[in-house]
Point group: C2
Chain length 109, copies 2
Amino acid sequence: MSSTGFAKTPQPPYYAVIFTSRRTEGDNGYSAMAERTVALASQQPGFLGIESARGADGRGITVSYWASEEDGLRWKQHYEHKVAQRMGKQTWYQDYSLRVAEVKRAYKK
Amino acid sequence: MSSTGFAKTPQPPYYAVIFTSRRTEGDNGYSAMAERTVALASQQPGFLGIESARGADGRGITVSYWASEEDGLRWKQHYEHKVAQRMGKQTWYQDYSLRVAEVKRAYKK
């Protein structure tokens, strides 16, 4: 599944991890990490899908979907993901917000 | 508040409306509507903020934040927003997903 595709999620309830960020200038290893992190996430228990968009201004939103809150929080604590988070904080992101939310309703075209 | 800024949300719980979409080719009145719709949303009761990103591939994510589920659903039903939704379905979006979620935890850098 591509990181730019739509997630095929089941009927609610399930969980969303909403990550909003603003990139620093330059790649500094970011693209390779982002690809690796999406591949790693998709192998975790309870992973349902991921959606991502980043504009030319450097602001981006990534939403990953999880079967349960525990699955989402376990991913947050994953060792390799923790390493990426540390790099993100130090190098790749000017600032970011992370929100864990329970999806209650869903509609689509 | 700019539509490309970060939302300054309070401590959870609050609600997120996650709108993922893929645009059709051409503007067709989309940019003016998007600007107007963000301005309109920000005047609604319970509005907490909005974050938006769209990549060069036409895929975008907009997350609006609301004090309660009722506030988010009332915005979904707002007359002028309904008109925009109809145009979106017919003209602006190839496809989209809309999810209403309760934010339970939040972190930031």
